[in-house]
């Protein structure tokens, strides 16, 4: 109950900000921060709870984005439809990849997901309808009321997507699925022998996680009013999703939020003050530092601090 009240408060606040005269740059930055939060949260459902590393975030994200583009170009579908369709396609991709590789050890799944990124990218490069390697310029329909710019409207949209992602992650964690996934992460063989249908559970997690990533990708083309394979399938999304979860802490739905918030805010600051390359470098360095020194992430550090101060 407390959770849902805070969700409502957050959404109302978000709407308030979106309608207030805040500088446009804020929305630009916030869009990326919220994207990072949603992606990390989605990633964590499989990666954090079940311990299966998905390097393929950009593949799922990109499938969502391209699904949205195709629906928009073909039928002029409205944004909510695009997002739902992006989620469905992301989930389907998750199902396919999972079925193919989730029976194997985690490393094979991880490599398989890298493969999926490049395969999706190659497909889009060769698909003229969506612009091929050149990309496709989109003519956006007029922005919907009550928003007066796209940045504001999409800020609200991505905030809703992020809240949905977090709520689903929270639900999964607390439900029977969550306990099974944790058992899988701790010892897959013992989980299976304790009656956990491990493959089915991993597939469920993979579908949910992939679906959410697809939903996050769907509004991106509208945001940029452009789509192009190289940046859509960029490994930077992989490191953002992975980094957010690991730095924040993978055992709780709050971890990815904290991690992604810290990481993407830091990235925005560095991009503005130093350069685009350095911001990715910082993520890489932080990622390695955290896995080595603070494997439980910020949440773990916080817990340890709580315990020691007691």
């Amino acid at each position: 109950m407390k959770y849902w009240i805070s969700v409502a408060v957050i959404l109302v606040l978000t709407l308030g900000v979106a309608l207030s005269p805040v500088n446009e740059y804020f929305f630009f930055a916030a869009y990326f921060v919220l994207t990072a939060i949603a992606l990390s949260t989605a990633w964590n459902i499989l990666g954090g709870y079940a311990g299966y590393v998905n390097f393929g975030t950009p593949a799922f994200f990109g499938v969502g984005a391209y699904t949205a583009v195709v629906l928009f170009k073909w039928l002029g579908a409205p944004l909510p439809v695009q997002i739902v369709a992006g989620a469905v396609m992301g989930g389907l991709l998750g199902f396919g990849v999972g079925l193919l590789t989730l029976r194997l050890r985690g490393i094979f799944f991880a490599i398989g997901t890298i493969a999926v990124i490049f395969i999706m990218e190659t497909l889009m490069i060769n698909w003229r309808y969506v612009g091929g390697a050149t990309g496709l310029q989109l003519v956006r329909p007029p922005v919907s009321v009550p928003f007066d710019t796209y940045a504001r409207m999409l800020f609200m949209v991505i905030a809703v997507v992020a809240v949905v992602a977090v709520s689903i992650a929270r639900y999964v964690q607390d439900s029977w699925i969550g306990r099974g996934l944790r058992a899988i992460r701790d010892s897959e063989e013992a989980a299976e022998c304790s009656g956990v249908p491990t493959l089915r559970l991993k597939l469920i997690a993979c579908v949910i996680s992939g679906g959410l990533m697809g939903a996050v990708g769907a509004p991106m083309p509208m945001y940029l009013s452009f789509i192009e394979p190289a940046s859509t399938f960029s490994l930077n999304y992989t490191i953002a999703a992975l980094g957010g979860s690991i730095i924040g802490g993978m055992s709780h739905w709050g971890g990815p939020i904290i991690g992604a918030l810290v990481l993407s805010t830091l990235q925005q600051i560095i991009t503005v003050t130093i350069s685009g390359e350095v911001n990715v470098l910082v993520v890489g360095v932080l990622l390695v530092l955290f896995v080595v020194l603070a494997p439980e992430g910020v949440l773990g550090l916080f817990k340890r601090w709580l315990r020691s101060s007691k």
């Binding site: 306990r179 099974g180 058992a183 010892s187 989980a191 299976e192 022998c193 304790s194 009656g195 956990v196």
Partner: protein, 238 residues
């Protein structure tokens, strides 16, 4: 007595290595059954095939008359086969109690409130109740072994396979674990004990089979087995 488990001509290969060749055993309901053999003789492979962690290459495995050798492990657990692991594999990010809630939820579909009550009962029976809120890292060797058995019991199995539950334990600890197993058997649970400690397995089992290099070399009452020259050869390497 009716057979609860029938293993028929089961073989298993890893690449060019034959881990099991043409193994057949028959375990009666309520029986205390011992499985012995030197390191690498195929004991663990055999019970992996029975519990479903591995698939046998040929032969059949029937549980309560039903062929199960193509079913995934979790289905077999739900049908009543539970096992412990030689190297304990606790769910280390969960408390002892939560460890037991995995099978209560996934095998018996109990709500957490009911599951917790039953899990506490099992922990009390095994003398682990005091550690219900502890994590695996805080447990001693013998407590870890008990947790393995307790988790297996939480699925209310008909057949319990105990894989070297006593390895590395002191004499009194061995007695403790043995008592638990005897108690479980009293309640009607069939038990297959895989053990390296001859003394324990001989005390416990009604019938023993000895494996060597993937083959059954003899079968019989504990007293006969100890005297068998093949067994002595296999163990002493003479």
């Amino acid at each position: 007595m009716a057979a609860i488990l029938e293993v028929n001509a089961v073989s298993k290969h890893f690449g060019g290595f034959t881990a099991l060749s043409d193994v057949s055993i028959r375990v009666a309901a309520g029986e205390r059954f011992g499985l012995i053999g030197p390191n690498g003789s195929g004991k663990t492979t055999l019970i992996n095939c029975v519990s479903g962690s591995l698939r046998n290459d040929s032969g059949s495995i029937a549980f309560q008359g039903e062929e199960i050798s193509r079913q995934p492990a979790y289905v077999r657990t739900r049908k009543g086969i539970a096992r412990s692991f030689q190297v304990p594999r606790p769910f280390h990010t969960m408390t002892v109690l939560e460890n037991l809630l995995v099978p209560t939820a996934y095998v018996r579909h109990l709500k957490d409130s009911e599951g917790e009550a039953q899990a506490m009962q099992i922990l009390t029976d095994m003398g682990l109740a005091a550690k219900a809120r502890a994590y695996a890292a805080e447990l001693s060797q013998v407590e870890l072994r008990k947790l393995e058995l307790a988790r297996a019991m939480a699925s209310q199995p008909k057949l319990l396979i105990s894989d070297e539950a006593m390895a590395g334990l002191s004499g009194s600890e061995v007695d403790e674990v043995l008592k638990i197993l005897f108690d479980l058997n009293e309640k009607g649970i069939t038990i297959i004990m895989i053990e390296h400690i001859m003394q324990a397995v001989m005390r416990f089992s009604q019938r023993v089979i000895c494996l060597d290099a993937g083959k059954i070399i003899c079968e019989g009452a504990p007293t006969e087995i100890v005297k068998n020259p093949d067994v002595q050869k296999a163990y002493l390497g003479a």
